[in-house]
């Protein structure tokens, strides 16, 4: 569960990232965060992952109030939030298997657990046969699937995908969407930032639209553009 309560973000240069934003995302939801560049989508994502703290208000993720969370506790919160990046951020000197296993190694998972879980996740994202390949031997879609596998491998309750289809063609983007929908069906909450009208329109899922740091629309089964404003 993610909850924003009257959240305002002000950056060092006095630029307002978010202003009195409130919304609640329940467990198992699939939510699109849409809006123009600078609307506050990245600020919302950074608040969920604990990268920044709100100026005022509360951000609650999986029952933890992120803004009052001690720095040393932050890693444990992050283990419950998987992040998918637009630019994949895979380690070029590690194979697909090693990239995914790495996410488990750094949280000190047992070797046996790593050997059991990584092939399972690679199978889920359809990359079992690419386990020994390096990222530069993969297509963009495959790289993004590795990134999703890495985000999922520690069984997070929430996956935050920051424009995961931004660097992909429409066909591959739709593949990635199908995968994210599948993951959501298995119970993982998905928060996805996107600029793709087609993806949002096709998905018929909840849409939170931000403009200049303010929520202007929160629609249960919305499209990318809508006349319904809050």
């Amino acid at each position: 569960m993610i909850e924003f309560r009257d959240v305002t973000v002000i950056y060092d240069n006095d630029i307002i990232g978010l202003e009195n934003v409130s919304f609640k995302i329940n467990d198992g939801d699939f939510v699109f965060l849409v809006g123009k560049t600078g609307a506050g989508k990245s600020s919302a994502v950074k608040l969920i992952t604990g990268e920044i703290k709100p100026y005022t208000g509360d951000v609650i993720v999986n029952g933890v109030t992120v803004n009052t969370l001690k720095k040393r506790k932050l890693p444990y919160l992050r283990r419950s939030v998987g992040v998918v990046f637009q630019d994949f951020r895979l380690l070029p000197n590690k194979t697909v298997y090693e990239n995914v296993a790495f996410a488990m190694e750094v949280v000190r998972a047992k070797k046996r657990e790593i050997r059991r879980k990584v092939p399972m996740i690679l199978s889920l994202v359809g990359l079992s046969d690419r386990a020994k390949n390096y990222p530069n031997e993969l297509s963009g879609g495959e790289q993004q699937r590795v990134c999703i596998a890495r985000a999922l491998v520690n069984s997070p309750a929430i996956v935050v995908a920051d424009e995961p289809t931004g660097n992909l063609d429409m066909e591959t983007a739709e593949e990635i969407m199908r995968l994210l929908m599948e993951i959501n069906r298995m119970g993982t909450t998905i928060v996805m930032v996107t600029h793709s009208t087609k993806i949002v329109d096709d998905a018929h899922r909840r849409v939170i639209q931000l403009e200049s740091g303010v929520v202007v629309r929160d629609e249960k089964e919305g499209g990318y553009n809508s006349d319904v404003l809050v």
Partner: protein, 290 residues
């Protein structure tokens, strides 16, 4: 195990920079070690000079041998007396002749030593900076004719050794700070090469300690190898240098390397470890703020 493997592979990947850092750290620690040895020996020489700078209480000619014993006892019991020794007129005369050497001592062959010099008590003070009080107290002992205090020499020796010690300390501090910067830059290169990895680790929930550990280990390894190289050069070079210096400093004794091996080797290794630790921690600090 993960930290050690990562640190070793990182050192191997930046082999040239690692080697350059080890050499520079070794040079810094070598100079540090030289200053350390210098400071130890200056202190030692200072002690030797100071021990020769005794206070001498001359005894009146009329005092009997029993009185001389009493004076020695009374002086020995005074505060700040490390050691007190009686010197008879005859001993003083013999010592004087020895100091002058055989060339001149022949001129005194016809003289009777007991008539020329006074018997005295030679006092070695505990604290060289408080000899004035001791001089006053010794002068008050019944039967003491005069007290000679070479305080000016003592003070000069103490102040010169103090200046040298402070100078060495400052030089050592500068060298240590330089070495920390060198290690910091080596680790910064490693951090830069693994920036994406660190970023991913932060996002998947690795603790700061876990992320930091391989870098700290890397810095400490560089520090230890640098320190060991410096120790080897110092161990071989020191005794040879002392041998050469002994020709010019025949009045004083210098420490042998074996006498200083534990503090010097221990100190260099300890500083190598501390510098590696501090340098790497400061290098990675900014990258952990995600």
């Amino acid at each position: 195990m993960y930290s050690f493997k990562t640190a070793m592979s990182s050192l191997g990947r930046n082999a040239v920079m690692t080697a350059a850092s080890v050499v520079t750290i070794a040079c810094c620690l070598f100079l540090f070690g030289v200053f350390l040895l210098f400071a130890f020996n200056i202190n030692y020489i200072g002690e030797q000079i100071s021990s020769q700078c005794e206070i001498q209480a001359f005894i009146e000619d009329t005092v009997s041998s029993g009185g001389e014993e009493r004076i020695l006892k009374e002086i020995s019991a005074l505060p700040n007396v490390k050691y007190a020794e009686f010197e008879s007129k005859e001993q003083a005369f013999e010592n004087y002749k020895k100091e002058l050497g055989s060339e001149y001592s022949e001129n005194f062959s016809s003289l009777d030593g007991s008539d020329i010099l006074r018997s005295s008590v030679k006092i070695t003070p505990e604290d060289l900076t408080r000899t004035g009080e001791l001089e006053e107290a010794a002068a008050k002992v019944r039967g003491v004719a005069r007290v000679v205090n070479r305080e000016d020499i003592i003070r000069r020796v103490v102040s010169v050794t103090d200046v040298i010690k402070i100078g060495s300390l400052i030089a050592m501090l500068i060298l240590l700070i330089t070495a920390v910067f060198i290690i910091q830059n080596t680790i910064k290169l490693s951090v830069h090469a693994r920036e994406d990895e660190i970023h991913i680790m932060k996002f998947v929930g690795a603790t700061d300690g876990f992320i930091r550990r391989p870098f700290v280990l890397e810095g400490v390894i560089v520090g230890i190898i640098g320190a060991m190289a410096a120790i080897i050069v110092i161990a071989f070079g020191y005794n040879a240098a002392v041998g050469q210096a002994a020709e010019f400093l025949d009045l004083f004794e210098l420490y042998s390397f074996s006498q200083l091996a534990i503090p010097v080797c221990g100190g260099l290794l300890l500083f190598g470890i501390i510098m590696g630790n501090v340098g790497s921690r400061t290098a990675i600090r900014r990258h952990l703020k995600v």
